[in-house]
Symmetry: C2
Subunit: 569 residues, 2 copies
């Protein structure tokens, strides 16, 4: 378990401080991440990697010449916010555009995706490199459903080597995505990891057994089997990974192989496992090029291992073996470098609300008050929300909602104090939530509140119809963003009934207070009803089974927010 | 705990097979270890490092250009045998002599020491680099009592860099020993490691506490304290390590710093601990040069961390930062290499016993039978001996005695079958025990039986007086080797009374059978009496206290061997 930490909530920045001090010849700090401390030629395509923290050497350990240009560091196992991704990408860009590399998880898809949109809107070329190597999570059939695990390392290295070799943006993106298409992984877990500040691991595996098909965020695997001999484990992993061989990849020929330790499975064990894996792969006609065995993408102190195979063509082999140096991965001859200038964080412009009428500013203050009440209610419910989330997730929903609503309340109050009206106050709160919460719920709430705010305006007290329209716009924005539908056991299962009832009651002539109270009731009932639903998105099947009988944490917190506001209208 | 393994007794060679396959560009296998697979100039001083296994990257991970020339890999936490050290050193020698680097443990001192003697007797220059960095084990006052922990890495790197830079043997040895003199370490443990095949860890630490002053072989530490904040842990480690500052080292100035993870303490935690350690050291006027944070010398999956400081002068700084590449440690620019020829193990000459008279050969066969009986008795007692040893040691005494006596019986039978007399048969058994058992007991039994055998001759049935003389010679050889005395709670506490009684009864006119039976009784009583003794050698104080009330495992097994032979005379 994690034992060396101060304040658990500052675990990531505290660890990053030591990391940056230690590796200042490779990296320099930027807000919520690192970029290279060595000079980069103008026009080079930048590769920025990232995701939640707790996976070292992923992601900051892979920044350096021949490897990534920057890494975004979210909270432990939680996606960095859109803003954090954007900020690191801005710092890493050298005029050649940015490829954003990350594993396929809902929160990362949302936040990296929105960050790419924002970069493009500012004229910076930005595209996503979504790593999808885990054959164990391929339950739904579509490739897009595979999670990203240790295959990250292959895709990031190959993208970076292409960029370093002077490939243009399209060519870098092409070969990077092709390397992902050619990569498959499969893992086993013996024991779960323990988050900083927690006493119990995220999951346990029956003694003498292994969870087959682990994830790297505390997902225990899709089935449990007795631990076999190294030969048997090698057979299992090789068979499953080769079973996922990409259609265009030859049977036999050159491959690279990663045997990855999840955290507390030791080098000796990994070497011991590598021997029969290599033997089997060679028996099947494969030639192993530049294999890597060790801790590559970890999950804190989780016990377990995974096998990754990438089917190489000549170009991939050249890029995989090209020189690279970074804190955690060095290969080939030394790349000559010179120091980069110290990155200076650009100053932000402050919004000017001086034109807002006094009456409108009063409504802004009321909105800030609502968000403060929401913050208090969510903080009081934090532990309970965490427990609900832990049934089928990683248990961080309570913490994430508290962090997001605290930031939202603070930014909203700051805007209201500066004279903002209802819309601008809520928009400021939305940006605070989105920028500082991280994770999936952070970006969803940010997007919802941003769209909601746009319908309110800053002219005075919004009409009930404008509020209902704002909620409806927010729902549409969330649906557009995440691709989830009602019945998928997400917050939409409570949010859509809330919005529908609100519109219905407002159209029937109720005042806002009455309509909202009725809508909050509908949300509460709908959240309770999510007990009977299976989650459908980004979850392996057994987790879906396990979650039956438990409501969705996101729907429960949405209903709580709705009731809290209802009491104040 | 260790979970990926096949036959626990082949854990080390199984892991080594994967390691060598993976890193064939750095290393090639030799019996019980590795040497470089890259060419080495003739006349270069060779640095051979080693010790027990389970400490990866120590020791095989540090073989490569700019680092060591070879590594000897003992069984898990057990010293390699003299023969294994000798074999690897022979393979690594390129005519410039061999520096044998290892941490200060009784078994390693014996085996590396005897191997150096043997190398010198064959005209190969060989000296010991005994690493003694652990300030926590400095209980007895003398520097020689400090154990070697992560400071190994500094001493090995500096010795290797000096050799690579073309230093001659004396100069390499001088600067290597100086780097050890300038190095101090101190560690903390949160949880013990579990040996392959075992269910329980070697020790446990009370939840929320840390063992202060850990060892790397399952020693839990010299005191137990509540786990502090990273700042408090940093204070503790910095204060204790700086408190051990070498007399000739300046207060302030250049140092290098290692923060070492013991196995399951994660990178994030080590970075988090490094930040306040670096801050404190800088506040005290130190400049940190090329620090290393990560898993450097582990103890399987033990949880814990250690701090190492080396006070650098200009020469040490140059050597510490000199280029080096190896499986686990790379720094500086790439060293150009070319492949070395594959090492061919020299063929052994087989002994020729064809001149032995038939009657003498019959006695040889009887001696082989005695050793087979001893093997069976020790195998039956293996678990019990392990349990006794685990009270104050690492619990491997039973396994080691079984392995040694099995090898001894096999070699003795092989010699007897080829016609060897009593002396040659016992000598062959002695060599088998010494060469293949490893650990401390292996070398002691080998030396004892070798000296014993020399007194027996091959002429026929030895006289009782010759047998008593052989035992006395064996005792003298063991005392000379290990420096232990009666009362130190070692096998000498039973062996000396055994030898004394045997000589006394033989001189009194008893026949061998009667005299031996009486001596075996004396040994049994003496072994029982070791319950009241504290071990004095190579043990931290609390272990000495803990062992009161438990007999010494080595004395118990000696008495068992004596009784087993008594029944057959």
């Amino acid at each position: 378990m994690t034992r060396i930490y101060g304040d658990p909530s500052s675990f990531v920045p505290d660890a990053l401080a030591g990391f940056v001090d230690l590796y200042s010849h490779y990296v320099q700090p930027v807000p919520h991440g690192v970029v290279r401390s060595t000079a980069t030629p103008e026009g080079k395509v930048a590769v920025v990697v990232g995701g939640g923290s707790g996976h070292y050497p992923a992601f900051a350990g892979y920044v350096g010449p021949g490897l990534a240009d920057g890494a975004v560091c979210g909270d432990v196992f939680a996606s960095p916010s859109t803003r954090w991704v954007y900020d690191v990408a801005r710092a890493a860009d050298h005029g050649g555009g940015v490829i954003l590399g990350f594993g396929n998880y809902a929160g990362d898809i949302l936040n990296f995706g929105l960050a790419a949109q924002r970069l493009r809107s500012e004229g910076i070329r930005a595209e996503l490199l979504v790593v999808t190597d885990d054959v164990a999570s391929e339950g739904q059939g579509a490739q897009g459903n595979r999670r990203g695990i240790a295959g990250d390392v292959v895709a990031f290295k190959i993208a970076s080597a292409a960029a370093e070799a002077g490939y243009d943006f399209d060519e870098t993106l092409r070969v990077a995505r092709f390397s992902n298409d050619r990569t498959r992984s499969m893992g086993i877990a013996f024991a779960g990891c323990t988050l900083p500040g927690e006493k119990e691991p995220l999951f346990t595996v029956t003694s003498g057994h292994m969870g087959v098909g682990l994830g790297i965020h505390g997902e225990p695997g899709i089935s449990e089997e007795p631990i076999g001999s190294p030969d048997e484990i090698a057979d299992l992993l090789v068979d499953r990974v080769l079973g996922g061989r990409p259609e265009d990849a030859p049977e036999g020929g050159k491959i690279t192989v990663l045997v990855n330790g999840l955290g507390s499975t030791k080098y000796e064990e990994l070497f011991l496992l590598y021997a029969p894996i290599a033997k089997r792969l060679r028996e099947k006609g494969y030639e192993i090029v530049a294999p890597q065995v060790g801790e590559l993408v970890t999950s804190l102190d989780m016990a377990g291992a995974s096998l990754t195979v990438t089917w190489l063509d000549e170009e991939l082999e050249t890029l995989w073996t090209a020189p690279a140096q970074s804190p955690a991965f060095s290969t080939g001859t030394t790349i000559q470098t010179s120091p980069a200038p110290t990155y200076v964080v650009p100053e932000e412009e402050r919004a000017d609300y001086t034109g807002t009428p006094a009456a409108a500013a009063e409504v802004g203050a009321a909105v800030a008050g609502h968000l403060e009440a929401v913050r208090d209610a969510l903080a009081a419910a934090e532990d309970e929300l965490g427990r609900i989330d832990a049934v089928a997730g990683d248990g961080d929903h309570g913490v994430g909602m508290t962090r997001g609503s605290t930031a939202a309340a603070q930014e909203a109050r700051s805007a209201a104090d500066a004279g903002a009206g209802a819309g601008s106050t809520l928009a400021a709160g939305a940006d605070g939530w989105a920028d500082r919460a991280g994770g999936t719920s952070g970006v969803i709430w940010g997007v919802f509140l941003r769209a909601f705010a746009a319908a309110l305006g800053d002219e005075g007290r919004p009409e009930a119809g404008a509020v209902a329209q704002g909620v409806a716009d927010g729902i549409a924005a969330v649906q557009d963003l995440g691709g989830a539908r009602v019945g998928d056991k997400t917050l939409l299962d409570a949010l859509v009934p809330f919005g529908d009832r609100l519109t219905e009651r407002v159209e029937a002539g109720d005042d806002l207070r009455t309509a909202w109270a009725s809508a909050a009731e509908a949300a509460t009932e709908a959240a309770e009803a999510t007990k009977d639903l299976r989650p459908q998105i980004g979850r392996a099947r057994p987790l879906a089974e396990r979650s039956l009988g438990h409501p969705d944490a996101g729907a429960v917190s949405l209903a709580l927010v709705a009731r809290t506001v209802a009491e104040r209208l």
